[in-house]
């Protein structure tokens, strides 16, 4: 076989493999969209569930997921960025910081149901927050932190060292240098990590299973100590726990969750590509 022929064959195979990885995404999104779209209406999006959740809307689950995502952001974003700044800018390379790094990497690998169980033990029972938005947000924060920390640290390290040297040589303190030069340059990368982390928080079921989620609530949560409905858990419930559930409500719920998560992803991509276009170094 000639070299040209080999090359064409290899490229064709690689191309096919790529197409096969993209295909499931298209199929999943397409199938959910087609099956779920008939369910979408103003009533479905903005009403309480009725008739044992077999009719009406999913408003409390949407609100719950928004609360959980925002609450997780309020806790995990400042903590994560602070930790990333420490690791990227201040930490010396020693046994202590190596241990922290290993801990973060391993934290990212823990199955989400284990986070759920941990949250149940620490926040719900020991600290007596009960099954609540607060306990759920704290649990989701712990799960989200490794993603935020490692992407933010990477974004900080990508800022050229020469900027730091110049800033210090002009009489800047280390903190002035970080705040005025390094952070603004790393911000798009940090935001991307934040959104990806929160995205995961919005879509996970297991961590909120024991800590925040309610099977059904007749009203919206009134404080952070109330339990809440949430889209991923609601989807789990109506798919497995409620007999006689109309298919279009299940897929309508899945579609709303998917739209929520995908739109955040698109937002992150836009931030990243716009920052890349503006960047001059």
């Amino acid at each position: 076989m000639s070299r040209q022929l080999t090359q064409r064959l290899v490229f064709t195979l690689i191309g096919l493999a790529t197409a096969m990885t993209a295909l499931p995404i298209v199929l999943v999104v397409g199938y959910i969209a087609v099956t779920g779209l008939p369910a979408i209406s103003a009533e479905f999006l903005a009403d309480m569930p009725r008739e044992g959740m077999r009719a009406g809307g999913i408003w409390p689950a949407i609100v719950g997921t928004l609360y959980l995502t925002l609450g997780t952001g309020l806790i995990a974003v400042p903590l994560g960025i602070a930790a990333a700044i420490y690791l990227a800018e201040y930490a010396k390379d020693n046994a202590f910081t190596r241990a922290i790094r290993i801990a973060i990497i391993n934290l990212a690998g823990i199955p989400s149901v284990v986070y759920g169980l941990f949250g149940l033990g620490l926040f719900v029972l020991f600290l007596q927050f009960g099954t609540s938005i607060l306990a759920g947000c704290l649990t989701l924060s712990i799960m989200t932190l490794p993603v935020i920390i490692s992407t933010a640290e990477e974004a900080l390290r990508a800022v050229p060292q020469s900027f730091r040297v110049v800033s210090v040589s002009l009489g800047g303190t280390k903190w002035q240098t970080i705040r005025r030069v390094v952070l603004p340059q790393a911000l798009p990368g940090i935001l991307t990590g934040v959104i990806l982390g929160l995205n995961r928080a919005a879509g996970e079921t297991a961590p909120i299973l024991f800590t925040a989620a309610a099977f059904f609530l007749p009203r919206l949560p009134a404080s952070v100590f109330d339990a809440t409905m949430a889209l991923p858990y609601h989807l789990f419930v109506i798919s497995t726990q409620v007999p006689g559930m109309p298919l279009k409500i299940q897929f309508g719920t899945a579609l709303v969750l998917l739209a929520f998560v995908l739109s955040m992803n698109v937002f992150a991509t836009i931030i990243r590509s716009r920052a890349r276009a503006r960047r001059q170094w």
Partner: protein, 253 residues
Amino acid sequence: MSASSAKIVVESLSVQYPDGTESLRNISLAIPANQITVLFGPAGGGKSTLLRAFNRLNDLTDNVRMTGRILLDGADVRALDPVTLRRRVGMVFAQPVPLPMSIRQNVWYGLELAGERDTRRKDAALEKSLRQAALWEEVHDRLNASAFTLSGGQQQRLCLARVLALEPEVVLLDEPASGLDPISTAKVEESLQAIKQDYTIVIVPHSVQQGARIADMAAFFLQGELVEYGPGRDIFVTPHNKRTEDYVTGRFG
């Protein structure tokens, strides 16, 4: 030269890098105020290390070992607060590094770090320093443009202006013309001549010729050793040391 006119005095300075290599070996010299002192010699001779010791930029590199003393106006630089020291001893690097902001913001930057909030004062310093760096005529109508829109030569003069805006006492230049075209180089050299009555200038030139053009005082470094130090005319025209002569006349380089 009397001791009182010396701005910087180096006493028995040795610098070792963490990998054990010795960068400077027992250097002593006195750098006079309001003159241009040239540190020259082949690459790896320790010139940049000495510059970076003056404003303690070596502090940023972990585990650089330093013995001996550097006195600025008689005070040991290691006893001074590094932030204050770097305001008094400004530095221009070999590669121009504009900060990712506008031309104006680049010059304002050091002033703002030092707490200056008054826009009129900042703008006055902006125009003065850009004129001193021979850049004002070229950029005065686009001060809000990104500093990256400037050419390499303009960027380097912006870096000089950024340092001069802080009105330091000493200006260190580490091969500031290495990436520049001859016209930009000439402009930088002219600027240095024009401002030296107000500043003490220490420069690592990018060539022997440049050193000879601008030196009031000159120090020849070879492999971490200070071979010869004296008035530029002596060093470049009638050097006493054979090794200096060989280098200046281009027998090795």
